[in-house]
């Protein structure tokens, strides 16, 4: 059986889900027997080099770059998995949802208690920067997502169980202890 190809990314996330991925510990040796990684921060491949079987998304979408990356994952991956609370429901970045973006920017760059030096009242507007969205979107509100693995971060056993099931085509086994939102 040929190896399945996997890609991963972190959008508006903290990389905690990726860390948890690595928490599968020595099972990673088994994993490399089952899969090969394409675009992923784990191997630092920046672009898709071939059609991918499983795309794993950490983080929701807070800016235009997230949207672009997410859409390219949808185009290049047969199956998309939302990994962790941020991908599924926006997570902590989505705490700003409901607060006008102007107010968030003002707080962050102009008026907030942690703003010590910004006498020129500069706001980040370099054309190189991604553009901020008015709110943080769960991934499945942007593109079609096939599987959801909750947690902050998701339990390593959950990631392992789900991934093995997806790779081997077996049913996912999700014991009570591994599906947690915190």
């Amino acid at each position: 059986m040929s190896k399945k190809i996997i890609a991963t990314t972190s959008l508006a996330g903290c990389f905690g889900c990726h860390m948890s991925f690595l928490d599968i510990d020595e099972r990673i040796l088994k994993l490399v027997e089952l899969v090969e990684f394409d675009k992923s921060p784990i191997n630092d491949i920046k672009v898709f080099t071939r059609p991918v079987d499983i795309g794993i998304i950490e983080g929701g979408c807070c800016n235009s770059e997230n949207i672009e990356v997410l859409k390219s994952f949808r185009e290049n991956c047969k199956v998309l998995v939302s990994l962790g609370e941020c991908a599924i429901m926006g997570g902590l970045p989505a705490l700003r949802n409901g607060i006008p973006i102007e107010e968030c920017l003002r707080e962050a760059y102009l008026d907030g208690p942690t703003v010590s030096e910004n006498k020129e009242q500069v706001l980040p507007n370099d054309p190189e920067l991604p553009m901020l969205l008015d709110k943080v979107f769960p991934c499945h509100e942007i593109v079609k997502v096939d599987y959801f693995l909750p947690g902050c971060a998701p339990d390593a056993d959950l990631i392992w169980n789900a991934l093995v099931a997806l790779v081997t085509g077996n049913e996912m086994e999700l014991p009570y202890e591994v599906v947690k939102f915190d």
Binding site: E85, G91, L174, F181, D182
Partner: protein, 231 residues
């Protein structure tokens, strides 16, 4: 002594005292019917609809209806469990339930029910409402974004004259449970702790007492809600 009656839940024999609600009778007999707004010792109101059951093909709430002899109750069916899961999902998307940042995580009954029904993602779009937080009381924080309007605090937190600390405000989608401003200022530590304890979610937080028990060692971290009832 009141009389003992017999009825059935999903074909299983239930024996209970007459007058006990179906939820109570089920519990005594080791059958779990999920609830959220129901609270032992307080008058049931049936506002979360989690305990919806079917009797004679009609929807009813098991927390408000007393069991009756010969009754045949349908509870653990695919249809009803999907409705219950749907209600949990509905409550998640219409509030702001960011579990990772909530002090109640692990002890939260809404979260526990989501675990029990394996909610991986809600079927409804997220609303992300901005409902405000009332921290004016020196003892508690009332976070409206997490409130599921179950009335448990309204029914159980009262002063010696029987006056309510908590009450509804507005109606429909604007409905909120608010703390009486004056009474909130004079709340005792005991009542504040009790209010937090009685709140099924993290909407009432007893100030300066957070995270005493670490996440991972909490009520529903290892064992599903209802497990303690189920034989």
């Amino acid at each position: 002594m009141s009389e003992t009656i017999e009825f059935k839940i999903d074909g299983r024999k239930i024996v209970a005292e007459e007058g006990k609600t179906i939820v109570e009778a089920a519990k005594i007999n080791g059958v779990y019917i999920p609830t959220l707004c129901n609270f032992e010792g307080a008058k049931p109101k049936g506002c979360c609809r989690m305990c919806t059951i079917k009797v004679n093909n009609r929807f009813m709430t098991a927390c408000t209806i007393p069991g009756a002899a010969g009754m045949e109750v349908e509870s653990n069916s695919e249809e009803l469990n999907d409705i219950r899961k749907g209600i949990v999902e509905l409550l998640f998307v219409t509030g702001n339930h960011f579990c990772p940042s909530c002090e109640k995580s692990g002890n939260c009954e809404l979260q526990a029910l989501a675990y029990r029904y394996q909610m991986m993602v809600p079927r409804f779009p997220y609303v992300f409402p901005q409902k405000g937080i009332d921290a004016s009381s020196p003892k508690i924080i009332k976070d409206q974004n997490r409130c599921i309007l179950c009335q448990r605090c309204m029914k159980t937190i009262k002063d010696e004259k029987g006056r309510n600390y908590f009450a509804y405000q507005n109606r429909g989608s604007k409905l909120a449970v608010v703390l009486d401003e004056k009474m909130g200022k004079e709340m005792s530590d005991e009542l504040a702790a009790l209010a937090m304890e009685n709140c099924p979610v993290g909407s009432i937080i007893y100030k300066e007492n957070g995270f005493k028990k670490p996440i991972g060692k909490r009520k529903y971290d290892k064992r599903p809600i209802g497990n303690e009832i189920e034989a």
